[in-house]
């Protein structure tokens, strides 16, 4: 297993090594030590490689991940797994703002709390947060699932499109055009699958409430102007 020590190895060497993995099945695993809050750790992965980061990272860790499996044994700065295409990213600690922003696929698991704007503009990613999420999460979320085992902050799902939100705890407030919706069997089934994939034990899908778009702002109407 290649071990990259970011205390002595430039970030460029790490990312270029991750980009140099040949196409096709492989079981290459990397370990990154001494990340010390470095930005852009393990970005642009486009192969099924595993990366274990031993420590906390700065901005955009695992950005645009496409098929990799990245685990951060610490906390993550803003924009972790932003625009992820596929693969899996696990944060053992907390995540800062914009976790999973604009993600298109894959699974992001945050075992601690996530700050504001978690899942902003999400476009297909699945996000499971074991703790709480901050305000304006899933803002303009277009597609995908955001699962929160704890509480959600203000303005959850503001200007939401078709992303589906599941919250087990309280929601401080809902954003414009976001409403609580009926939990149907297909939602319970999807939720059970997501909880299992995220390694959540002892929590039942029935404990969650579902939130989604009221779709009242999809086409402009002057009488809805107060909601914009």
């Amino acid at each position: 297993m290649p071990v990259i020590d970011l205390a002595v190895t430039p970030l460029r060497d790490l990312n270029s090594a991750l980009h140099a993995i040949p196409p096709g099945p492989n079981d290459i695993a990397f370990e990154v030590v001494n990340p010390r809050g470095s930005h852009s750790v393990a970005v642009g992965i486009d192969a099924p490689v595993a990366v274990d980061v031993k420590g906390s990272v700065g901005y955009y860790c695992a950005g645009m991940n496409d098929g990799g499996s990245v685990t951060v044994h610490g906390s993550a700065g803003p924009g972790v797994a932003e625009n992820m295409m596929s693969g899996k990213v696990v944060i053992e600690g907390d995540a800062s703002q914009y976790a999973g922003a604009t993600g298109r696929g894959g699974l992001l698991v945050i075992k601690g709390n996530a700050a504001s704007r978690c899942g902003i503009s999400m476009k297909g990613i699945d996000i499971v947060v074991h703790g709480n999420i901050g305000h304006m999460s899933a803002f303009m979320g277009q597609s995908g699932h955001l699962v929160v085992l704890g509480d959600a902050g203000d303005a959850l799902g503001d200007s939401l499109y078709e992303a589906k939100l599941f919250v087990r705890g309280t929601v401080k407030s809902l954003g414009s055009d976001c409403i609580e919706k009926e939990m149907r069997p297909e939602h319970l089934s999807k939720l059970a699958e997501l909880l299992e994939r995220a390694g959540v034990k002892g929590v039942r899908p029935e404990e969650f409430k579902r939130y989604g778009s009221a779709r009242k702002l999809y086409n402009f109407n002057i009488d809805n102007a107060d909601a914009y």
């Binding site: 980009h19 642009g44 901005y59 625009n83 922003a101 704007r117 297909g124 277009q142 002057i222």
Partner: protein
């Protein structure tokens, strides 16, 4: 003797003119602000208010057809491993698939490629047709991130981080439901037929310090190969340019208020942002103050129409220009051949700006399959190439007359201004004087 009161003609208000009155009535009737495409229509100081001095006893010209006047420009020399070199400094600005039809995007790629320049994606992602027909393609990185993915980042020739645009500095994108076809909806991960609102801020960074980290991420993802542009609307050009340089940009793109948009509120287009002419010198000054002029390249856009405009922008310190509206006109936008249909839409050729409605008779700003067929991408691409070549020749003609063997050798000293306003903005003397307002002396 009785007084005879002569006829007094009706007097209309200059403040409440016919257009203003009609707008008040329209707003009262519909309850919605006017949305339209294109850039500002108000008259603002522009390149028309500048003149070249040409050669004289103190400067000698180059022979028109025998002495070379180079037009090449290389963009991205600061950090990128693979800077791009263009045969002409006239590039095609970002315009989205969605706002424009597929054939229109293809035509832009074809025309730019023939002319040896770049074209640019827009707020809708990169299409295969566009990539395939564009030898040099700049991939926009926008707040919406519609269609954004690392494969397209890597197959682009340059990346343009869009902070703002001249038609609406501080505003996001807008694509109304009637243009959201199945393909557009799929590319943007949105339901068909809804009004698409693009965010005005990026979702995962705010401010210049974050931008620096974002640019680092983009460079790491693309292995430091691609030039990274930062595009801003004409608002605070000195500070925006300085901050873009600080954040690590290879190229700054500065778009004045004459720059077009696919759809925005008319009140925004007409009342926010600065004229292109007012933006150039502060941006160049910022680059010079940082020792980065010609190291970080400056691309100017917003109302570029002719080789004279190109030459003037370059003389004021730009490295290249970008055209959008003019490129669409070259493709066939607002062509009088469709006058009967423009009339049916309540407008006339040359004034049609309801690009957001998707009913473009010329088949350019539409997703209607029947209207799209009207634009032959090969013929339209050829027209664009012709236009680009003519503009390049025009700029060379002027540069040679000023004794310059490269367009980049044009300088402010080659210019004078026709108006006090243009003199102040371009910081070149009022014609016949040595006076520049704000610079002292007379």
């Amino acid at each position: 003797m009785s007084y005879h009161n002569p006829y007094t003609p009706p007097r209309k208000s200059a403040t409440f003119d016919d257009y203003t009155l009609a707008e008040i009535r329209r707003a009262a009737a519909t309850g919605i602000y006017d949305i339209r495409g294109a850039g500002t229509k108000r008259k603002v100081p522009h390149f028309d208010d500048l003149l070249f001095l040409g050669a004289s006893i103190s400067r000698y010209p180059l022979e028109g057809y025998r002495e070379k006047c180079d037009t090449t420009v290389t963009l991205g020399t600061r950090f990128a491993k693979k800077p791009i070199t263009l045969k002409t400094p006239i590039t095609i600005a970002g315009m989205s698939f969605g706002a424009l039809s597929g054939p229109a995007k293809e035509a832009l790629g074809r025309g730019a490629t023939i002319a040896g320049t770049s074209t640019t994606t827009g707020d809708g992602g990169m299409t295969d047709e566009e990539r395939g027909h564009s030898q040099t393609l700049v991939y926009q990185y926008l707040p919406s991130r519609y269609g954004m993915n690392p494969k397209d980042l890597r197959r682009a020739d340059a990346i343009e981080v869009v902070v703002g645009q001249g038609a609406k500095p501080g505003g996001g994108g807008m694509l109304l439901g009637q243009k959201i076809s199945d393909r557009v909806a799929e590319m943007r991960t949105l339901p068909k037929g809804i009004d698409q609102r693009s965010a005005c801020r990026h979702p995962d960074w705010t401010g210049p310090d974050d931008l620096e980290i974002k640019i680092l991420e983009l460079r790491e993802i693309t292995d430091w190969e691609k030039p990274i542009y930062v595009k801003v609307g004409g608002a605070r050009p000195y500070y925006d340019t300085a901050l873009a340089v600080k954040a690590g940009a290879d190229v700054v793109v500065l778009d004045g208020m004459q720059g077009g948009t696919a759809a925005t509120q008319d009140v925004f287009i007409e009342n926010v942002g600065m004229p292109t002419l007012a933006c150039i010198r502060p941006a160049v000054q910022a680059l010079q103050d940082l020792g980065m002029h010609r190291k970080v390249q400056l691309i100017i856009s917003g109302g570029i129409r002719s080789g004279a405009d190109v030459a003037k922008a370059l003389a004021l310190g730009a490295d290249a220009v970008a055209i959008g509206t003019a490129a669409l006109v070259a493709l066939g936008d607002n062509d009088p051949r469709w006058e009967d249909e423009y009339r049916k839409l309540g407008t006339t050729a040359g004034a049609y700006d309801d690009w957001h409605e998707g009913k473009d008779p010329a088949g350019i700003t539409t997703q209607d399959p029947e209207l799209m067929k009207r634009l032959d991408p090969i013929a339209a691409g050829r027209r664009l190439a012709n236009y680009l070549k003519v503009m390049t020749l025009e700029a060379q003609t002027i540069a040679r007359a000023c004794g310059k063997n490269h367009l980049h050798n044009l300088e402010p000293e080659d210019l004078c201004a026709l108006t006090i306003e243009a003199s102040a903005m371009a910081q070149v003397p009022l014609a016949g004087t040595s006076w520049i307002p704000g610079k002292g002396g007379f």
